[in-house]
């Protein structure tokens, strides 16, 4: 499907990216910001995996019952790495949010700004 010469799958990825970015920028709640970041990450992973797929392709596992064309294995490996990175970033962010909550009692930016 390519209306206006646009690859809709890719456009969807960009849309997802923008949704995440909007959440990250506009939301006041730190957790929601973090979720926005995760949405963005997911969109990029989706982009990579999408790009690695081929028309009618099978997963790149060479066992009985599969045949060429295969999807490219590199994007899968990249995304796997990417996910681990994303998980790590999320973990650190959560730890920081927990700290902020413990110290200030709130995780809303609006309220944090009003604190002395």
């Amino acid at each position: 499907m390519q209306p206006f010469g646009l690859d809709l799958d890719y456009v969807a990825v960009v849309a997802l990216f923008c949704v995440g970015l909007y959440m990250l920028v506009a939301k006041s709640n730190l957790l929601k910001k973090l979720l926005g970041l995760n949405v963005m990450e997911t969109s990029v992973f989706a982009f990579i995996v999408t790009a690695g797929m081929v028309e009618g392709g099978d997963p790149p596992i060479m066992v009985a019952g599969t045949s060429a064309p295969y999807a490219s294995p590199i994007p899968h490996a990249m995304v796997l790495t990417g996910i681990v990175v994303a998980v790590s970033v999320t973990a650190v962010a959560l730890a920081l949010i927990v700290q902020i909550h413990a110290h200030f009692g709130t995780i809303e930016i609006d309220e944090l700004k009003e604190l002395p």
Binding site: V11, C18, F47, G52, V54, M62, I74
Partner: protein, 271 residues
């Protein structure tokens, strides 16, 4: 705030759309992504690596170094969580370099008041936490049904993780996935049993080694590969047994190390 955010998003969206619009169509078999290195992997992968799951082959062999750094990344996350101050009690006076800290602090060289108070609150990390763990089952009251189900299913979930781990070379799965499931078991048990009892599943003395086991195993395998083939992280190309053994060591290390790291991150975050 909001209109500006929308403007920013729009500003980002336009170039991104322009960027993806001019990429080669993603399904086409003649796209560069399918004709370059990827095609070579598909063609020679099984012969060169002995792994039928080429994703695993890429992960552990062709781009093994990426995976090495990847396990370092999750170790970094754990180190980060461990290094953060814990608890909500402020540190003893003089410890916190506050940005506008103009309050006089006790003189520099004087020995610090030892943070005994903080330690008893669990600042001290795993060991002191272990020693002085209060026998409280959980912060949240857990329904007996949930507790029963979790305890019942935990071994089976763990078994599933093991299966994923050992079938990773021929089916979807592998070390990371197993690690995630292992960690899930830990975390679920931690939630229903109380984190202290869950933490006891891993002996204290092993923890420092287990949480770093994935990078360490990678370094070991890299060294072995270096000795065997002369290349860092190299696999002997025609000895499938050795290749598989090296792969399994890595998978197990990733699963165990990753699981421990993820679980520990979760447990450390409980304040």
């Amino acid at each position: 705030m909001r209109p500006w955010s929308l403007l920013l998003v729009l500003l980002v969206a336009l170039p991104l759309v322009a960027g993806v619009a001019t990429l080669p169509p993603h399904d086409a078999p003649d796209a560069p992504i399918h004709t370059q290195v990827g095609a070579l992997y598909l063609e020679r992968g099984v012969a060169e690596t002995g792994m039928k799951n080429l994703v695993t082959a890429v992960l552990l062999n062709y781009r093994g170094f990426d995976t090495f750094i990847e396990v370092v990344v999750i170790f970094t996350a754990l180190a980060a969580v461990l290094a953060l101050p814990k608890g909500s009690a402020p540190l003893p006076k003089g410890n916190a370099p506050l940005p506008k800290g103009s309050a006089p602090v006790p003189k520099g060289n004087a020995p610090l008041p030892q943070p005994d108070a903080a330690r008893s609150q669990g600042v001290g990390g795993a060991r002191s936490r272990e020693e002085e763990a209060p026998e409280v089952a959980s912060d949240v009251p857990v329904s007996p049904v949930v507790r029963f189900v979790v305890r019942l299913l935990a071994p089976f979930i763990a078994m599933f993780a093991v299966a994923m781990l050992f079938r990773g070379h021929i089916t979807p799965g592998g070390g990371f996935q197993a690690a995630a499931v292992f960690a899930a078991v830990f975390i679920a048990l931690g939630l229903v049993l109380g984190q202290d009892r869950a933490a006891r599943l891993v002996p204290v003395d092993w923890r420092p080694w287990l949480q770093g086991v994935a990078p360490l195993a990678f370094a070991l395998v890299a060294w072995i590969g270096w000795r065997l083939t002369g290349a860092f992280l190299g696999y002997p190309i025609d000895d499938h047994t050795v290749q598989e053994a090296m792969g399994f060591v890595l998978e197990i290390a990733i699963a165990v190390g990753g699981g421990v790291v993820l679980a520990r991150i979760f447990l450390e975050m409980e304040t």
